[in-house]
Amino acid sequence: MQIAEKASVAGRVVKYQGVGAAVHRLTLEVPASIAAPDPGQFYMLRPFDEPLPFLPRAFSVSRSRLADTTLHLDFLIKVYGSGTEWLCDRREGDRVRVTGPLGHGWTLDSTPRRVFLVAGGIGLAPFPATIDALRERSSTVELHLLYGARRADELVGLDDSSYEGVTLEFATEDGSRDHRGYVTDVLAERIASGACGPDDLVLACGPNAMLGAVAKHTLPANIPTQVAMEEAMACGFGVCNGCAVRVLDSAGEFGIYERVCIDGPVFDAMRVDWPALAAIHG
């Protein structure tokens, strides 16, 4: 069978599950003639043949598995606007336009002793496949998930076997579970105590402000850090040039734009112009 690197097809909802706090798990079935995603890659989703919501939305894939001649893709989606509302109203059998897999996922070629996965809210989405891939590469890797949200009841999505054996630590802005404050405070504590250092790896996914805070703590401590970024995006496959993020050029100066969709969504935190990003979203 010829495997397409990426494609745009009618996907079918094979499983829908609400997991609480306006977060939904959607499993979409696409032909297995399309490549399975790498951890950290994403798909563009929109109605298959309805005019609205107009633009497709980008979603990290949580995991994928082959099922006979089809590929099942799990997504964790939080209702935020009209696009996510439409998606979370889908039920078994409904059709969704699925375009992907897209972008570059995590670079997992090093063999760190410990990996700290830092998730802000729905930024938890890509981690199940990421954890599986890390374990495939090393049976001894120590995995820590630092997961932050506004409130305890928003800490959802952990009902996944991949999280078994992962050390879980939580932060909530209202203090309703574990650390009161940001998840990046917890990361900073680990760095200060030496529990997270230059031989480890930090993989972060969440709002851009959280990613900036992660980089602020890890980069001075020389901890390899990768961030899965988001930016307003129209196509997802590199042709609209909408999702620009300012990064270091080859001379080491901040000044060029790369596209989150095909140059990312995962970037080495060292390459991102964090002050410019903060200014853009401020």
């Binding site: 745009s8 995006m233 129209a234 997802g236 496959f237 734009y257 853009i280």
Partner: protein, 307 residues
């Protein structure tokens, strides 16, 4: 003759469906999605004489039945294009159109001269909606005199067909169309995006980093159809219709209004396989309408008379 074949001035196309510049990449980025030889023509993202970084993000925002963009024509410049993108373009077996812009008339002329010398394209499309740095940053395409001088200058350095892409952000698009024709254009394409703005009530910030931008998608289709109708009746040049095309009847609507071909833009983002779908749907739709040749539809609108 194939029922979809059309003539676009000096260009003979296998079908009337082209890509719109800026929505289909700079060479063969879309080849993973479908066989690019199916395109009536491929029109690439704008290239400029000098490299451009592009605008401050956010660069895109959804609006009712459309989107705003302010991308800023990021590209590696014409020399980079010739070295890296043109060799890939040459291998795409369809009519190849390179879209060119500049900050000055001379940059347009020098850009087209270099591209023409490099060879490998079948036509140029001039993006005259960009600001004229020597003319108070007013867009070239908002002034008939500047438009004519620009087109005539470019006409002097290439024998390839010249498509001039018109902006809708003018008082009378027909005047600009006539100026482009007087300057030596072979084909007119219209419309480029309509200027627009959107503001986020929560942050009080414009939704685009450049504060405003260009509106595209189905929201602008009626504006485009009307301008195509006006221009095709007033100027003796073939017209390419652009603006919000997503379905086969949208294609037919532009042809009826007077377009000889169309470009599909924003819909590529929603549905990267929209063009092959339209090409599959067009012949049966023509049969349903009792039309044997797509060319029979061109300008065949039956406008009402005054009573």
């Amino acid at each position: 003759m194939d029922m979809l074949a059309v003539e676009l001035g000096p260009l003979s196309l296998a079908n009337p469906i082209l890509t719109a510049s800026g929505t289909f990449g700079g060479s063969d980025e879309m080849a993973d999605f479908f066989d690019l030889s199916r395109l009536g023509a491929i029109v690439l993202k704008t290239v400029t004489l000098h490299p451009r970084r592009g605008n401050r993000p956010p660069r895109v925002a959804e609006t009712p039945f459309g989107m705003l963009n302010s991308i800023g024509l990021p590209n590696g410049g014409i020399d980079y294009f010739i070295e890296n993108q043109l060799p890939v373009l040459r291998e795409i077996p369809t009519t190849r159109v390179v879209n060119v812009a500049g900050d000055t008339v001379d940059q347009f002329i020098e850009g087209v001269r270099r591209l023409d010398a490099a060879g490998g394209m079948d036509a140029f499309e001039l993006n005259i909606s960009c600001p004229n740095v020597e003319g108070g940053r007013l867009p070239f395409g908002s002034d008939p005199k500047v438009t004519e001088v620009l087109v005539r200058g470019v006409r002097g350095v290439t024998d390839l067909p010249l498509i001039v892409k018109l902006s809708p952000n003018v008082t009378d698009v027909v005047v600009i169309a006539q100026a482009a024709a007087a300057g030596g254009a072979d084909v007119l394409s219209l419309i480029n995006t309509l200027l627009g703005m959107a503001i986020d009530p929560r942050t009080k910030r414009p939704k685009l980093g450049s504060n405003f931008g260009g509106l595209s998608g189905p929201a602008i289709k009626p504006v485009a159809v009307k301008m195509v109708w006006e221009v095709s009746r007033s100027v003796d040049l073939p017209v390419i219709g652009i603006g919000g095309i997503r379905d086969v009847d949208d294609v037919i609507e532009f042809l009826l209004a007077g377009a000889s071909a169309v470009q599909v833009g924003t819909a590529n983002y929603l549905e990267p396989t929209v063009i092959p779908r339209l090409l599959d749907e067009l012949p049966p739709r023509l049969e349903e309408l009792g039309v044997s040749q797509v060319t029979d539809l061109i300008g065949a609108v039956r406008p009402f008379e005054e009573i």
